[in-house]
């Protein structure tokens, strides 16, 4: 267990290092001069002198590796630089917006699991019967529909036609429904199939067959014997969904005008506010790696076979 944690923490460090080089490199490669864009944003006369001043203030006149070293040194102290646009530290800005994105993603996860779990269980229980076919069609639709378009159509139906739900803004429960359902549906459709596949594999195991042969009731097999083993695919799905969740959140935040991390990143892109984009990419990368680390660790708690060093069921 401890050696795994150590190994994965080392991996985390490597991933963060590669991400940092990647984002730093992209920032250096990016076309356009950030110095000019800051000066232009102030709408003042741009002179050679204040260009040079700002350039040395930001450290742009030093060699690239010195700039990287300085940036990395700041990074270790959670100093991601200051936003070109607002002039506030990037870290503070991200922390202000993080709760909003977390609120959205938690809601989406709730919707996702409350749709995909029952759907996955029923279609694994009755494979190739009509509940399974319905969930297959839903999965196809969910994987093919652009989430922003689904959101627009839901806004059209519930906010404009029926006028029962608000179309944007955040804070109240009613305002949570459309955004969380939009993203939750697309994800649930896809992941219910993964849950189904995991459950079907688990149903074919010998101990389940043995239980059936001994005349154990079907619901007991499902909830007592299969459930624990079936937690593994569910947790795997949770880890896998992180990527689509955070990516989808960007579009949903823009669509429903939530001032979260995703809309911050998109605004930053249009303003060429590189430190903010950099911070966002790093934060998301670290977040995904940490969640996947936790997912791996939870396998150990659930499946004693992995703890004993034998090959797990996953």
């Amino acid at each position: 267990m401890l050696s795994l944690v150590r190994k994965r923490l080392l991996q985390l460090v490597i991933v963060v290092f590669i991400l940092s080089i990647f984002t730093f490199g992209l920032m250096k490669l990016a076309p356009g001069d950030p110095v000019m864009s800051i000066l232009n944003a102030d709408e003042m006369m741009v002179t050679e002198a204040n260009q040079a001043n700002l350039r040395s203030d930001l450290g742009f006149d030093q060699p690239v590796y010195v700039q990287y070293g300085k940036w990395m040194h700041g990074l270790l102290k959670l100093d991601l630089g200051t936003s070109y646009m607002s002039g506030k530290p990037v870290w503070n800005e991200m922390m202000e917006r993080l709760p909003i994105t977390l609120q959205l993603t938690t809601g989406v996860l709730l919707v996702m699991f409350s749709i995909s779990l029952p759907l996955g269980i029923i279609s694994a229980r009755y494979p190739r019967k009509w509940p399974d076919q319905i969930s297959r069609i839903l999965a196809l639709i969910g994987a093919s529909i652009p989430s922003f378009w689904l959101g627009l159509m839901l806004i059209y139906l519930f906010a404009l036609k029926l006028q029962i739900l608000p179309s944007n803004g955040m804070g109240s429960f009613a305002q949570m429904i459309l955004p969380t359902f939009t993203l939750g549906f697309s994800l649930a459709a896809v992941y219910s199939r993964l849950i189904r596949a995991g459950l079907i594999e688990c149903f074919s195991k010998d101990y389940i067959q043995a239980g059936r042969a001994r005349g154990v009731k079907e619901w007991r097999i499902l909830w007592v014997h299969a459930f624990r083993a079936a937690l593994l695919p569910v947790i795997t799905v949770f880890g896998l969904s992180m990527g689509s969740l955070l990516g989808g959140a960007v579009v949903i935040e823009i669509l429903f005008s939530w001032p979260g991390l995703g809309s911050m990143a998109v605004d930053a892109i249009f303003n060429r506010d590189y430190p903010v984009i950099q911070g966002y990419v790093l934060l998301t990368g670290v977040f995904v790696v940490v969640v996947n680390l936790l997912v791996d660790l939870s396998y150990y708690l659930i499946d004693p076979r992995i703890k004993q060093g034998k090959e797990g069921s996953n």
Binding site: I14, V15, A30, A143, S144, P146, W149, L152, V251, Y280
Partner: protein, 286 residues
């Protein structure tokens, strides 16, 4: 470059040899062929100039002259969707081809030669895979600046990783098998082993991966275009059309329905084919 022809012929045979296609996959195939035909003869089909603004006719309802109505600039929505399919399909084909041309060779070399090349490639892939594809694409498009070319570059940079990983995985398990060892003993060069013996092994997984990815790439491109990071107006790209029409959505929702429908149908047909291929070729892991 005879191995390239051999590769294409083998791919063709792999698809043609499949019997009993599931009806859903056939439906997808028919849909996709129809869409490709419409794209090809698009300029002959459209009733109006997709770029011509006509302020007198703005936001008009569907009629004989404008089958899907007009947008906020009085442009024919139907014509724009038909012409827009060229942008969407063209970009996607270009992107997926580039991804395959980059991903497969790196995977083959990294898997077969191994050693330092392999570990560098895999560390790079590990670092990039930590980021969700969509966010990586946003980041790259963001740093390079919003434009269609940069969007394509960013999707390519994101997507090659999964091909390299799949190809590398197969090569790792194949290179120890007897036929490869026999080829080596028989004096085949590394180049010949890779192109003649290993390349054909990866056809069916790459075929499945690519068909399923076509849908995903269309979704990524249209989402990023919707955010304003891709095709710039007045280009009739479907995602950009949706983003263009957003301010008029409340009064004129028809503006948003048809381009989204178009995206949905194309992606759906690719996914139907992809699922059929996956079941038929037995590539469950993808």
């Amino acid at each position: 470059m005879r191995f390239v022809y051999a590769f294409f012929i083998k791919t063709y045979l792999t698809v043609m040899k499949m019997k009993n296609w599931p009806p859903t996959a056939l439906l997808g195939l028919i849909l996709l062929i129809t869409i490709v035909l419409i794209t090809a003869i698009g300029p002959l089909l459209i009733p109006n100039d997709p770029y011509m603004a006509n302020m007198a006719e703005r936001l008009s309802s569907p009629s004989l002259t404008y089958p899907f109505g007009t947008d906020h600039m009085g442009r024919c929505i139907f014509s724009r969707i038909v012409i827009g399919s060229q942008a969407t399909l063209g970009i996607t084909v270009l992107v997926i081809t580039t991804v395959i041309l980059i991903g497969i060779p790196i995977g083959l070399v990294s898997g077969y030669i191994g050693g330092r090349v392999d570990s560098i490639v895999m560390r790079l892939a590990d670092g990039l895979i930590a980021l969700p594809e969509f966010i990586l694409a946003i980041a790259i498009a963001g740093f390079l600046g919003p434009s269609l070319t940069n969007l394509m570059i960013s999707v390519v940079l994101v997507k090659w990783i999964s091909y390299t990983r799949v190809v590398r995985g197969i090569v790792l398990s194949e290179r120890e098998k007897e036929y490869v060892l026999a080829a080596r003993v028989g004096g085949c060069t590394t180049w010949r082993i890779i192109t003649r013996h290993l390349l054909p092994q990866i056809i069916s997984p790459v075929l499945v991966l690519a068909t399923l990815d076509v849908g995903k790439i269309i979704l990524i491109i249209s989402s990023l275009s919707y955010l304003g990071l891709g095709a710039q107006p007045p280009a009739p790209e479907w995602g950009a059309m949706l983003s263009d029409g957003r301010p008029y959505f409340q009064t004129f929702p028809e503006l948003m329905i048809y381009p989204g429908m178009a995206i949905f149908i194309v992606v759906l047909s690719c996914n139907l084919i992809g699922e059929g291929l996956r079941d038929k070729l037995g590539e469950k892991s993808i």
